[in-house]
């Protein structure tokens, strides 16, 4: 049993290793923060440099779960209450890109402005 668990851990470590390359690159990217609180985004508008790859750190302070979603930005991420996660964005052309919280679309609305 222990043997099996160790083998499982080795497989998981290997799988994690396969994913580490984009993760390691991500360390050097310009990073922006987004907070989800009471079914709203803070800040509701995020300014990012245009034509630059960047990273968005999202933290959901709850109380509910939320799904960060933008069809336009091709992103979809479910966050449980208390969870933090990140999304890597490919370079954006200058412009305004909307995103919303799929679990609370009436209140959770935001936008990324690429300049």
């Amino acid at each position: 049993m222990l043997h099996l668990l160790m083998r499982l851990r080795a497989v998981l470590a290997l799988l994690a290793g396969l994913c580490v390359v984009p993760g390691a690159l991500a360390q050097d990217l310009p990073t922006f923060q987004l907070l989800i609180r009471n079914a709203r985004f803070e800040p509701a508008t995020i300014e990012v440099p245009a034509n630059t790859k960047f990273r968005l750190l999202i933290k959901n302070e709850g109380p509910g779960a939320e799904e960060f979603e933008s069809v336009e930005l091709r992103k979809e991420k479910v966050l449980a209450p208390g969870a933090s996660s990140f999304l890597i964005f490919q370079p954006l052309k200058p412009g305004l890109y909307k995103f919303f919280g799929d679990f609370h679309p009436e209140t959770a609305q935001g936008q990324i402005v690429a300049k």
Binding site: V71, E72, A83, S85
Partner: protein, 269 residues
Amino acid sequence: MGSTVFVIWRESVEAMLVVGLLHSWLKFNDPGGAGKRSLALGVLLGLGLAGGLGWAMVAAQSELSGQALEWFQVAMLLVAAALMVQMVFWMRRHGAAMRQSLHHNLAQAAERSGRLGIAVVAALAIAREGSEAAVFLYGASLEPGAGGSLTLGAALGVAIAALTAWLLSRGLRFLDYRRFFLISGWMLLLFALALLVSAVDRLIGAGLLPALVDPVWNSAWLLDDGHGLGSVLAAMVGYRARPSLTLLLVFAVYAATVLRAMRTARRHA
């Protein structure tokens, strides 16, 4: 409570439609009842998977596990799309194969793999949507003052989704069999297209596929894919208001392949 009902409806209606259409189809094509048992097994498996995947979404907090989960979800979209298409064509061939008692063994083997296909397609549909519903409910249950209204809202959402699927597959059954078969087949092929579009978009978003020209057009003024009808169509049939050239190419290949295979299947039927 209204939003709970809507979110749960939206997160379960597609899976219910898939199960409803398969169940209707089995009513005509499953004399022994083995297919219906496979479907039931698929539903149970899907519910279990949805719970597991929901747990993984809550637990995947680190960057590494988040990334691994992302790849897993893309892979699941692609596999689900491929299996859905394969199943529709298996269903089309099914009638013809059953009539040829000469190739009885062959037909039996095809039967078994077809039933397996039905179970897996149902399981994947439920797992994908159910996991998000599970995380939503988990989060909502932590909100102060949840409890009764939450349970009621979730139950209502599931009930209305089931009613939607039942009405549709029931309504379709009033048509003659050929037409029911044709419409439900095309619906499943559209669902598969939405899965494929979603996977391609995620791969472009992750920088693994080039977008080529992005966007080719912008029809958001006509129908926005971000909310209302547009977002339902985006999730169910793969509508995009700002499609990239890559996406249009994938769509063209999918449409050409499916149309050709449908024509061939018709000739053999």
